[in-house]
């Protein structure tokens, strides 16, 4: 296991590359989803106020 995590001595480069990719992509998806949900809520509230 430790041998695998060491990535043949390149652990300090391989894991940050995967980690950064995961952080940025999860952030992108979460941000897009959150703002869509917030707008759906706003829109529903506005439509309720309509006569």
């Amino acid at each position: 296991m430790n041998d695998y995590l060491a990535m043949g001595g390149y652990a300090a480069f391989v894991w940050p590359a995967y980690g950064l990719s995961a952080i940025v992509m999860i952030g992108l998806a979460a941000n897009a989803w959150r703002s869509l949900k917030a707008r759906e809520k706003d829109l529903a509230r506005l439509r309720d106020q309509l006569p």
């Binding site: 043949g8 590359a17 995967y18 940025v24 992509m25 869509l36 707008r39 759906e40």
Partner: protein, 245 residues
């Protein structure tokens, strides 16, 4: 075909279609990324020269492709916005640009992490690296122009012009490794049907590339849908204000 696009350009229809398509693109993204990661990290060989560091390729190359595909999306929808004034085209350009910028940033960061052990340097001012950095700056400029005007339409127009002018950079990136002597290695997947890369490396690379593409499409659809709703909210608020007066 053109009537298909005309019908698609209707925001309400687009929202309905996006809502129907979204779960499938999300599922495909997860499936491709999951299997791609498995092969990339557990079931692909180390490179005979680069050792295990070659695994960075599976996140670096797809992010580079998506950085360019994202910019192409921005440029093409900007052209549609300028020429045909499609109501959706501006929203697509606006939604795609930050996503593409994130992929350009990932391409630069993962490239740097690959360059340090392989070339002995985090960064070099060579043609490929510099042209991708310019791509990242073009994305930043696009975002800045979009938000630089009080009148959103003027901002969209200025940003569209920048996106089109900057499109010249995309082929420059693509061919930079052939036109100039660079540190960067040439494309591994260039000859259709006969790439110069081990099939056991090609499989995770392609899976990750499809995964990134479906991810991009999913996030883009969610963002465009959000923009359409934002436009509706704005119109409703304006109506309320006018009714109150």
């Amino acid at each position: 075909m053109s009537s298909f696009f005309n019908r698609l350009a209707n925001p309400t229809r687009f929202v309905r279609l996006a809502t129907a398509v979204l779960p499938w693109t999300a599922l495909l993204a997860l499936a491709c990324l999951g299997s791609g990661l498995y092969f990339a990290l557990f079931d692909s060989p180390a490179d005979y020269q680069q050792g295990e560091s070659v695994r960075i390729m599976y996140v670096h190359v797809p992010s580079a492709w998506l950085a360019m595909a994202g910019y192409s999306t921005v440029a093409i929808s900007s052209a549609c916005a300028l020429i045909w004034k499609h109501p959706l085209a501006d929203l697509i350009a606006k939604s795609a640009s930050p996503v593409g910028a994130c992929f350009a940033l990932l391409c630069l960061l993962t490239g740097s992490l690959w360059g340090k052990p392989m070339w002995g340097t985090w960064w070099a001012w060579d043609a490929r690296l510099t042209s991708v950095l310019i791509l990242f700056f073009l994305y930043i400029g696009h975002y800045a122009l979009l938000h630089a005007f009080d009148d959103a339409q003027r901002g969209a127009k200025a940003a569209a012009v920048l996106a089109l002018a900057g499109f010249i950079n995309v082929p420059i990136i693509k061919f930079s490794v052939d036109w100039w002597n660079t540190l960067h290695q040439p494309a591994s997947v260039s000859k259709m049907g006969m790439p110069s890369v081990d099939p056991r490396m090609l499989l995770p690379l392609l899976l990750m590339a499809f995964g990134y593409t479906f991810f991009f499409v999913t996030v883009l659809l969610v963002r465009v849908k959000g923009e359409i709703l934002a436009a509706k909210i704005k119109a409703l608020r304006l109506g309320q204000l006018q009714a109150a007066q």
